[in-house]
């Protein structure tokens, strides 16, 4: 980490997006995480994705729980409101925030301790409810802030820095999300920005519960031989089922590809996810197939990455609850208070 304040200076030729913002407009406070932390790469990917998607920075709400991962919302989107809540409970806070104002983009950033241990219940239930959000876990298999205990995503048999062997079965958050009904599930690696950035962009465009599990090695406590969440291990053992191009609309599609090698998925908002198939057989519209694929590969020691599942036309919690289009936090007394005359009628019914 560095204690140097970040210079405000920006290069005049810095590329502007559709809204006239440069990448710098999407940055936040300077990171206080360890040098080389995978989480910082994810923050950078989020900044790039938001910039490229031309999102107004102040229209994002950044939500997190407690832990290294949960500190990261401070390091991006400095013009967005952020909420660092309590350990494992970000999903409920995000749900409430989303109910209050359906017009903002909700970015939930969590970790494996936050989401797979103390917050497993909230993680699953938030997805069950189809809250429109991008939920990212920065998954390193270890508790960083308390210095190196195994987390619930650590693989059975993996070795801690102090030499302990993990005997517990791991929780696979991507599989959990699929079972809970997530309508967008991806997995990526903090070291693979080329895969991660379009995945985040597609997740933002997705109008439902989007979950991305990002393996993010902990350089301080879980980057040694014997760990299955180290940079070296993940590089050697990850297998992408597809590469992704994300386009805000079909009109941007220009390049031609060999027939059968790509698949375009148009989401509800008109955006297009172009999948370059790396495994011919993989079908990201098959929830049960995705689960089977992930589990089979996990047994073989392989971490599957890419866009694992997508329902391009999801319904979210607001659709389920039939809420009005105007955000609830903008409704005034006129819309909310039935008034004295209605109360007289109610009084009569109690006599």
């Amino acid at each position: 980490m560095t204690y140097m304040p970040k210079p405000k200076f920006r290069h005049p030729a810095l590329e502007k997006n559709r809204l006239g913002f440069t990448r710098r407009d999407y940055e936040g406070a300077i990171s206080t995480l360890c040098a080389g932390c995978g989480h910082d790469s994810i923050s950078a990917a989020l900044i790039q994705a938001c910039h490229e998607s031309s999102i107004a920075p102040h229209r994002v709400a950044k939500m997190s729980g407690i832990g290294c991962s949960s500190k990261t919302p401070d390091y991006l989107l400095g013009q967005s409101h952020g909420f660092n809540s309590v350990h494992g409970r970000m999903p409920s806070v995000l749900t409430g925030a989303n109910l209050a104002n359906r017009d903002l983009i909700y970015l939930g950033i969590s970790g494996d301790g936050d989401s797979a241990s103390i917050g497993l219940g909230q993680f699953v239930h938030c997805i069950r409810r189809a809250v429109n959000m991008v939920y990212i876990t920065e998954n390193n298999g270890v508790y960083g802030l308390t210095k190196g205990q195994f987390s619930a995503t650590a693989d059975q048999g993996s070795r801690s820095k102090s030499g302990g062997i993990n005997s517990d079965s791991p929780i696979d958050l991507a599989s959990m999300a699929l079972m809970a009904g997530a309508t967008f599930v991806g997995r990526s690696f903090s070291g693979d920005k080329g895969q991660l950035v379009p995945l985040i962009k597609a997740a933002i465009a997705h109008q439902g519960a989007a979950f991305i599990d990002v393996i993010s090695p902990c350089v301080a406590f879980n980057n040694h031989a014997g760990s299955t969440k180290s940079f070296d291990f993940v590089r050697e053992h990850n297998e992408a089922v597809n590469r992704i191009d994300f386009m805000e609309s079909r009109s941007e599609i220009t390049a031609d590809y060999a027939p059968g090698s790509t698949r375009d998925i148009m989401q509800h908002d008109g955006s297009v996810i172009r999948l370059h198939k790396l495994d011919e057989t993989y079908d990201p519209s098959d929830r049960a197939g995705a689960l089977n694929y992930i589990q089979t590969h996990h047994e073989a020691g392989v971490v599957v990455t890419g866009l694992l599942y997508v329902d391009p036309d999801p319904a979210d919690l607001h659709v389920h609850l039939r809420t009005v289009a105007t955000p609830l936090n903008r409704l005034g007394r006129e819309a909310l208070c039935p008034g004295a005359a209605a109360l007289d009628a109610i009084n009569k019914s109690y006599r």
């Binding site: 967005s80 309590v86 409430g96 909230q122 609850l321 936090n329 819309a335 109360l343 006599r351």
Partner: protein, 604 residues
């Protein structure tokens, strides 16, 4: 031979039933018919934590004088449950009455000689008239209502009218119910004329008042107060708050043009999630609440500390029940005061509003949303099972159409654009309350990071001792401001100068009013004060200081209100004398009268 109790519009009828037997609606119809005759009543359900098969009681106090607290004692018992038969018979006051279903023999050992047995072959009447077992059960209930109404000289037409209202839309049920009612009435006319010396006479003492339970009232208050988000987890006795909110919203909050809802209700996976959702919504500018009971408040502690420290509006409707642990889930208590007042780890203090009845539950519930946004903090509305789940006679709900919502100190786009200095935790007005902004307000001004960790006045993370202390002191100033905003106490001075005072709160109110009148008749004079909120306004403390001794009536074991008074008002503990009633039943006027009279006697 004991003289039969003779009374007009002043007695207690108690029904002993088996839960799940359909008795509740029949019993309520009986009670409402008395109300329709203009005679005040107070009804209380005493029910088990169970769905079917266990004992349940329904008590109807008829009081022409208008005393609506629980009186204690039973003048007329309707024991329809063999499991509790002996206990029920033993509970009847000497000279009282007992409705015997004479299809079943009396015990061979006989029955108390000091009570009056009124025999009606209820089961036989039902069985000979109806074939279907369920009909036999349900219509037997209506037969005894007919019997009772006739014995008490009630207006049969009022009961019949209620049958029509009860089954409106299910018209095929009206005829058999009316018939069963008539069977009961006719039996009394033929066989039992003059058997009962208790009677109901038409009166005009009910007036404009309405008959409603506190959970329903609090839910309606939330609708009027502008709540749009409710997140809750089922728990007795608060569940019906959320259900009533849904019911009222469906009628009152659906956009007539689109059919879409101006509300969102989430049944959460637990209480932690419920309060988390409320906090998220409050942070984002929606008025949000949860309804729960003591065990739920226990689970919410961590989040409540966050909301206190990060200063987020939230409303918690706590319908108190008997604790600790699962305690007595279907019985009433006022035992969550300290856990709510000081909820969470570290130094915290929270605002409590304490209504006396459903009328105030409506008012305080609506007001809590203004207070939550004004003070940017959690507000507890402290109901209890007695208020929440029983129908009370209460003044009609009122609303002033001129009344605006107080959204508190919110900085708008224009405020920010004009260059106003925004420090999320900066006390600009000297009242301890800072300004806040809502997410998405302005493209490049006013964003801040909300966290439960210490920070400076501009919401920047800080571990500096002076930043932390400054913030904690400001929160105390904010609590001082709260004293001026919360409902003040209600004082009733004795007719003569009194050296003793009485403090009470919440559902104790009607029993206390009656006890005060009874004690006065005995020549014992007290000034009384009903506390309606925490923090205590200055006149709460000055009331105590103006009296030699003050009795504090509470429905908990540990004298929690007394604890708060001693702690917050620096009161000499010797001046506050506890009167405690915590067996799970609502405190009675008889109990308060006896306790205070005995204490005063011992003191003088």
């Amino acid at each position: 031979m004991q003289q039969p109790i003779t009374a007009i519009n002043d007695f207690v009828v108690k029904f002993a039933n088996v839960n799940g037997s359909g008795s509740a609606s029949a019993n309520e119809m009986f009670a409402r018919a008395i109300l329709r005759m203009g005679v005040p009543i107070a009804t209380r359900n005493i029910f088990p934590s169970n769905i079917q098969g266990l004992p349940t009681w329904y008590e109807v106090r008829v009081s022409g004088e208008g005393w609506i607290g629980r009186r204690g004692g039973v003048d007329f018992m309707v024991p329809m449950n063999p499991q509790t038969w002996e206990k029920d018979v033993a509970a009847i006051d000497p000279g009282g009455y007992f409705l015997h279903d004479s299809s079943k023999p009396l015990p061979r050992s006989g029955i108390r000689s000091d009570i009056n047995v009124i025999s009606v072959p209820l089961t036989e009447m039902a069985n000979s008239r109806y074939d279907n077992p369920r009909d036999r059960q349900l219509l037997k209930n209506m037969i005894y209502v007919g019997v009772l109404a006739a014995l008490l000289g009630m207006e049969h037409a009022e009961v019949e009218k209620l049958v029509g209202e009860q089954y409106a839309g299910k018209d095929r049920l009206i005829k058999p119910n009316l018939e069963a009612l008539g069977l009961g009435r006719d039996y009394v006319r033929e066989h039992l004329a003059g058997a009962c010396k208790l009677s109901v006479h038409r009166s005009n003492r009910v007036g404009e008042r309405i008959f409603v339970n506190g959970n329903d009232a609090a839910a309606l208050g939330a609708v009027y107060g502008g709540a749009t988000v409710a997140a809750w987890y089922p728990i007795t006795p608060s569940t019906s708050v959320a259900e009533a909110f849904q019911k009222h919203c469906k009628k009152l909050r659906v956009d007539p043009d689109t059919g879409k809802n101006r509300f969102a209700i989430v049944q959460s996976e637990d209480e932690l999630s419920a309060i988390g959702t409320v906090i998220g919504a409050g942070w984002n500018g929606a008025r949000a609440f949860t309804a729960t009971s003591g065990p739920g408040v226990s689970l919410m502690q961590e989040f409540l500390g966050l909301a206190y420290f990060a200063e987020i509006p939230a409303v918690i409707i706590d319908v108190q029940r008997g604790g600790p642990s699962t305690g007595m889930p279907t019985r009433t208590q006022q035992a969550d005061l300290t856990i709510c007042a000081y909820a969470s780890h570290g130094d915290t203090k929270h605002v409590l509003l304490i209504p006396e009845d459903p009328g105030e539950a409506f008012e305080f519930s609506a007001q809590s949303f203004d207070l939550a946004e004004r003070l940017q903090t959690p507000i507890f509305v402290m109901l209890d099972l007695d208020i929440g789940m029983n129908e009370w006679l209460t003044r009609p709900f009122q609303w002033d159409d001129e009344r605006a919502y107080d959204r508190g100190k919110l900085m708008s786009f224009d405020d920010l654009e004009s260059g106003k200095d925004f420090g999320r935790y900066l006390d600009v007005d000297g009242d301890g309350i800072p300004f806040r902004t809502l997410p998405g307000t302005h493209p490049n001004k006013g964003a801040y990071f909300t966290r439960g960790t210490s920070r400076n006045a501009y919401a920047k993370y800080s571990e500096e001792g002076r930043d932390y202390v400054g913030n904690m002191q400001r929160l105390l100033e904010k609590f001082e401001t709260a004293k001026k905003l919360v409902p003040g106490p209600v004082v009733h001075n004795a007719k003569k100068p009194a050296k003793y005072g009485v403090i009470h709160f919440g559902s104790t109110s009607p029993a206390m009013a009656e006890a005060q009148s009874t004690l006065e008749a005995q020549g014992l004079h007290f000034d009384t004060m009903r506390i309606r909120a925490f923090p205590f306004s200055d006149n709460v403390i000055s009331f105590i200081n103006a009296h030699e001794k003050v009795f504090v009536i509470e429905q908990n074991r540990d004298a929690q209100m007394r604890m708060l008074l001693i702690n917050e008002g620096a009161i000499d503990p010797a001046r506050l004398v506890s009167v405690l009633h915590y067996d799970g039943t609502p405190v009675t006027a008889r109990f308060i009268t006896a306790q205070i009279a005995a204490l005063v006697k011992a003191m003088s």
